[in-house]
């Protein structure tokens, strides 16, 4: 179990209020969307499509309130431990940002450039973000992996992976 010094403990607790706000927001979103739907009940379906979103929306707001009260009383959830996880330091936003960037690049580039290129960027970028310093080796593995999965899955099994600008070459 991780024991953070009391200073960060207080910060941790306050961050939970953010989560409560998020829950309440989600509840509000559900209610807003439900109101947009409009009444659509029939004799066949007396409940209609609005019922569940409304129930969920209300429940979420209630839960957010009770949760906030629990936090105020000192409750907190333990952040998840793990073999590779060291909770003594605050989150490494830089690494996280790089990882998200690699992921987004793949999402943006996968259709125009094809899986082989975007997958390579994803793998190499993620490995780089996570601390890999053997750049050439990482690139080689990334390319090999992208090509292998493309040939094996897209061509071999007909899985939906785009060829992008390399269409015709592969």
């Amino acid at each position: 179990m991780s024991h953070s010094p009391t200073g960060t403990q207080e910060v941790k607790d306050r961050a939970q209020y953010g989560l409560c706000a998020g829950l309440a927001l989600l509840g509000g979103l559900l209610l807003f969307d439900a109101s947009r739907i409009g009444h659509a009940t029939t004799t066949n379906d007396v409940v209609g499509p609005r019922a569940v979103p409304i129930v969920l929306g209300v429940a979420l707001i209630l839960v957010a309130a009770v949760y906030a009260r629990d936090i105020a009383r000192g409750g907190h959830g333990e952040a998840e431990e793990g073999e590779d996880v060291d909770l003594r330091h605050p989150a490494d936003w830089k690494t996280l940002g790089m990882l998200a960037a690699a992921f987004l690049l793949n999402a943006v580039l996968i259709d125009p450039l094809g899986w082989v290129i975007s997958g390579t960027i994803l793998f190499w970028g993620s490995a780089f973000a996570l601390g890999n310093r053997h750049h050439i080796r990482g690139l080689a593995i990334a390319i090999a992996l992208s090509l292998a999965t493309f040939y094996a899955f897209a061509i071999g099994l007909g899985v939906n992976l785009p060829a992008g600008i390399l269409k015709g070459i592969l």
């Binding site: 333990e78 989150a91 999402a107 890999n132």
Partner: protein, 510 residues
């Protein structure tokens, strides 16, 4: 017996050279992926699902069965050799297994885990054969209200029973339910929570949710808190057991199976409880209790068998009722639906060949697992030498590949990232993940049955009451909800204020 005939025919369908090769591939790939830390059987199946898209249903199911059991075996290999359980149910195996490995008995620990898994898997599959048709007969009598009530039991079970903080469990469940609502309402065709985004009209795929929450979420979480830790030595050795080990193992195997199967079959049962129960029981019954904590072979044999039996057990409600009770079952269900196969009580009547082929391939996958993986265990251990950056980059790579392949749309990748962020948030704040995924999986079914019940009664709430099965289920729900209040009134310590352990590793991977 009629069932036996069907089963034999199932074997006939499955035992072709091509299909055996597929089964072999499934087992190998499933084990390899399952060995990787942080990846449990559910994740293994989810990540490898895209491979099956181009295949015939029977072939795909055979691949699944191999991946399913392979993933479980891979997970226990890692827990024994490295004390890094990839999923919650392996936590218990790691306690004794890792101690055995450190004491130079890795070979015996691996052997007892493999053989125990095989025996439990085989017995479990036999039980499926025997039990399922009876359950189906019973299930056909269930009306919508009964279904609804049973699902409510599942909801309450995951959020209020497991985990110490009920409010967090409830929050998690509600988030999951909200995700489940996204899409077109099946009755009226109304778009809900889609905000005008056309790709959301079909709802959010369970596989995308699972991969996003588990794989991407885990990746992001690890990235934010990466611990640089010196690599351990893995004890290498071909699994084998001496006579004493056999003597001590086999009763544990049988007891573990007995614990595991029923818990796997009930909604919100899962594998954590039976593995703990098995461990406790073995400790009590053992002639060598002092060895527990230092490497007692029964402490590996029992829980491993319980784990596998529970996995077999989850297939019963999945096939008979169309009710997935954990993430792995949900993903397999999603895969079946991808082929246009509607699981439920009618599955056995509509697609008997498919079901019996699946069951036959479970037997075969299980056997191949044992035959293949006993000699290969040292090889799997070598996989753990892959540097972490490549490991997690690989996980994200396959996650992205799979998510894109579902619909061929980059939108799913954005969705995946969003869900990954959600996965990060729940790990950060210690919310249990199981209620979330159960909420996503069961929301459509729950809502459907709930509305059908009210439809039958013309809107009268008494329509939800249905028959005796529903009453029992509701009684359970009420009991679970009221229990802590009663405990409080009686003066014992209950409720949320005391400890908040939600979010420990045991609640994450399924």
């Amino acid at each position: 017996m009629d069932n036996l005939n069907h089963l034999l025919q199932g074997f006939g369908d499955v035992l072709t050279p091509m299909n055996l090769l597929i089964a072999l591939t499934g087992v190998v790939v499933g084990t390899a992926v399952g060995v990787l830390p942080g990846i449990g059987p559910a994740m293994t199946v989810a990540l490898l699902l895209p491979i099956t898209y181009g295949l015939e249903p029977t072939t795909a199911l055979i691949l699944f069965a191999g991946i399913f059991y392979g993933g479980m075996y891979g997970g226990s290999t890692t827990s024994i050799l490295l004390n890094t359980p990839g999923e919650s149910a392996s936590v218990v195996t790691a306690i004794e297994g890792n101690k055995m490995a450190k004491g130079g008995r890795a070979a015996q620990a691996l052997a007892t885990a493999a053989i125990g898994s095989f025996i439990a898997g085989t017995i479990g599959t036999v039980l499926i054969v025997l039990v399922m048709p009876q359950i189906v007969k019973f299930a056909v009598t269930l009306g919508a209200p009964e279904y609804f009530a049973i699902i409510l039991v599942a909801f309450v079970g995951v959020s209020a029973v497991l985990g110490a903080s009920r409010i967090r469990g409830l929050a998690s469940l509600l988030i999951g339910l909200s995700i489940g609502v996204v899409g077109i309402d099946f009755v009226t065709g109304q778009q809900r929570l889609t905000f005008g985004i056309p790709q959301l009209a079909d709802g959010i795929d369970v596989v995308v949710v699972a991969v996003g929450l588990f794989a991407v979420g885990e990746g992001l979480w690890v990235a934010a808190h990466l611990r640089r830790k010196a690599g351990e030595v893995i004890p290498v050795g071909q699994p084998w057991m001496g006579r004493q080990d056999w003597k001590r193992s086999w009763p544990a195997w049988l007891r573990g199976t007995a614990f595991g199967f029923p818990f796997g079959a009930i909604p919100a049962g899962g594998a954590e409880i039976p593995t703990f129960l098995s461990y406790m029981t073995e400790k009590k019954l053992s002639k060598h209790p002092e060895e527990f904590g230092k490497g007692a072979i029964e402490g590996v044999a029992g829980p491993e068998a319980a784990n596998n039996a529970s996995a077999a057990g989850t297939l019963v409600p999945m096939l008979a009722l169309g009710l997935p009770t954990n993430a792995t079952a949900a993903i397999m269900l999603a895969a079946l639906q991808g082929y246009g196969i509607e699981p439920g009580p009618l599955l056995l009547t509509n697609e008997p060949k498919l079901v019996w082929a699946l069951i036959a391939s479970l037997f075969i996958g299980n056997t191949l697992l044992l035959v293949l993986n006993l000699p290969l265990a040292p090889t799997w251990a070598k996989l753990l030498r892959i540097p972490r950056p490549y490991l997690y980059a690989g996980i994200l790579f396959f996650a992205a590949m799979g998510a894109y392949a579902v619909n061929g749309s980059p939108f799913d990748l954005y969705l995946l990232l969003g869900l990954g962020v959600l996965g990060f948030v729940i790990r950060r704040f210690g919310l249990p993940v199981l209620p979330l995924i159960v909420g996503v999986i069961l929301e459509p079914l729950a809502e459907k049955k709930g509305r059908q019940s009210l439809q039958l009664s013309g809107g009268d709430l008494s329509g939800l009451l249905g028959g005796p099965v529903a009453w029992i289920a509701y009684a359970i729900v009420v009991a679970v909800l009221i229990w802590p209040l009663l405990a409080k009134l009686r003066g014992t310590s209950g409720g949320d204020d005391d400890h908040h352990h939600a979010g420990t590793k045991s609640e994450v991977a399924a």
